[in-house]
Amino acid sequence: DVKVTQSSRYLVKRTGEKVFLECVQDMDHENMFWYRQDPGLGLRLIYFSYDVKMKEKGDIPEGYSVSREKKERFSLILESASTNQTSMYLCASSTHLTGGGEKLFFGSGTQLSVL
């Protein structure tokens, strides 16, 4: 089975701190994604990557950056954490299928609280 592992289940940080959220997948998937999930807003795409060293902005990239130095690892970086970035962060991966239809495999999520 595919396993997507997020480094922390819960994280508490202070405003202004630099925060790293790590995600590792073990199925050699090309695609990796970072979403945030907030009550009443569903999942919103922050950044995604279709290949090593490649990144694309999602719908809400402001205040975030990402790094994909290795195929299996996709990191989300909050350069200067703010309270409005308190959220559940979900990492996902998928393989590439010609014609689309890839299903996403999700990690268990990181609940980040910024105080």
Binding site: G42, G58, G101, L104, S108
Partner: protein, 112 residues
């Protein structure tokens, strides 16, 4: 980007009953997927239906897709307490570079 929207938002049913939830979307799609999320966990893929399909089954799940109405429904038959979760639809839009857009989710509580 487009988002699916599930309706109703919350559903409470007795074990053994069927649960139906709907999803609407705004633009043309390649496919539509349904995911389940247990409380505080990541999402798990349930089923995918392509734009040229009208109905699909997987175990106790039945998904329909009406592209003319831009809507889909997910039916869970003979519900169990373990089906208690949030259910999300996600659309893969035409020309959307295979990015999935998720709806806000539909909470289902199955009472034993």
């Amino acid at each position: 980007s487009q988002q699916g929207e599930e309706d109703p938002q919350a559903l409470s049913i007795q074990e053994g009953e069927n649960a139906t939830m709907n999803c609407s979307y705004k633009t043309s799609i390649n496919n539509l997927q349904w995911y389940r999320q247990n409380s505080g966990r990541g999402l798990v893929h349930l089923i995918l239906i392509r734009s040229n399909e009208r109905e699909k089954h997987s175990g106790r799940l039945r998904v329909t897709l009406d592209t003319s109405k831009k809507s889909s429904s997910l039916l869970i038959t003979a519900s169990r307490a373990a089906d208690t979760a949030s259910y999300f639809c996600a659309t893969d839009t035409l020309g959307g570079n295979n990015r999935l857009a998720f709806g806000k989710g539909n909470q289902v509580v199955v009472i034993p």
